[in-house]
Symmetry: C2
């Protein structure tokens, strides 16, 4: 059986991974979506991932538990305050406290394991080097080095049955371009979630880096933002 048309797609539940998922579908792949419960402070993004996977019609969606809180040290998994109301220029200055150590390396490694089991060559990740908010593991040179390593790592690659390709279709897109592309592909952005610090009821804060980049993206794309934000006092 030739399984060359299967793809593993990393799915967080945000705009970028949702658009990436639909792009992989458009390219004709059977999709195996992979999400992680890694000690995020809220599970709302995992609910979003489930809704998107279901809406897109993936073959399988696995959510894997890894408790990265054991290592600590990130505003996404710890009790450090999420920065609010920063200018986009300030976001670009340094790597934010919301950085999770080696996150994409961990996620890609688990995608690689699943790809080998599925006899798939293709892994998709929605990283973005423009609006990347300062994460080192979103840069093209990192992805290239990862791909090279991956092709030395698996039994299937060493035996010549696998040639891993890490697809990063959004890497050179602005957030506005991602949103426009997603809309064309049929992504329902109401199903996605971006906020680092949502209310318990799911409304986005509207002030964290991720909300601000999302708002700016919809604005620049000339598309109404369907996000439900907390009513500010």
């Amino acid at each position: 059986m030739n399984n060359k048309r299967k793809a593993v797609v990393l799915l967080s539940g945000g705009i970028d991974s949702a658009t990436t998922l639909y792009l992989a579908g458009k390219m004709g792949f059977d999709i195996y979506a992979l999400s992680f419960c890694y000690g995020q402070r809220h599970k709302i993004e995992l609910q979003a991932a489930g809704r998107i996977a279901s809406h897109c019609g993936v073959v399988q969606h696995i959510t894997l538990d890894i408790d990265l809180r054991l290592f600590g040290h990130s505003a996404l998994t710890d009790d450090i305050a999420v920065p609010k109301s920063r200018s986009i220029a300030d976001m670009d200055k340094d790597i934010p406290v919301t950085y999770v150590p080696a996150r994409n390396t961990i996620f890609l490694s688990l995608a690689l394991a699943w790809a080998e089991v599925l006899e798939s060559n293709d892994i998709f990740i929605g990283v973005n080097a423009l609006d990347y908010s300062g994460y080192p593991d979103c840069r093209p040179e990192y992805i290239a080095a990862y791909e090279r390593m991956a092709n030395l790592a698996t039994k299937a690659a060493v035996e010549g049955r696998q040639k891993i390709k890490i697809h990063t279709p959004l890497i050179d897109f602005t957030k506005a371009q991602i949103i426009s592309q997603g809309l064309k592909l049929g992504v329902d952005f109401r199903l996605t979630h971006s906020c680092y610090d949502p209310a318990q009821t799911g409304e986005a804060c509207g002030k964290c880096d991720s909300c601000l980049l999302r708002q700016k993206g919809f604005e620049e794309a000339g598309i109404p933002d369907p996000t439900v934000y907390k009513i500010q006092p």
Copy 2:
């Protein structure tokens, strides 16, 4: 505070990782040992890891849960039979069914995350290219590619505060040399566990690849094997 003397050591509970742990200690590192509960068919090797970490006096020992059974496809995590009584020549012929997809890539990625949090440059893994039993992710070219990728992956590396070194002190050793080295360093091999298919009570089967390589190692080192084997009919 300069934390350059901390090391993350991957610890499975076998001869190789135990010897690697003691070597890192001998080199003067404060040791942070990392083990995984990844859906192994038995937990005896995790008990061994705990005993060894305690005997060696590590600063911290974390066992992380990742359920790789969700991906399936290995005799170590599935119901495929573990091969028995193979010749060493046969083991070298192909990659065994006990191969776990991308295992070292996953383990090193989690070690990398912890190293970044600890502000450590040093990760130790007891891979071995001679008695490596056919695993692609034990080869020097794989380790070199991993190290290169790791130095593009972390915030600390990108900011020039971290230079990751993947230490593989046993990579060119025979099993006999590892055992001799371990003994000199004070490893108590009674605490280690190698068998892929132990009895519920912990005795080794004496016939799987891992038992056979262990027996051969002790024999060639001229050291009595302290392992408790199941009494064969």
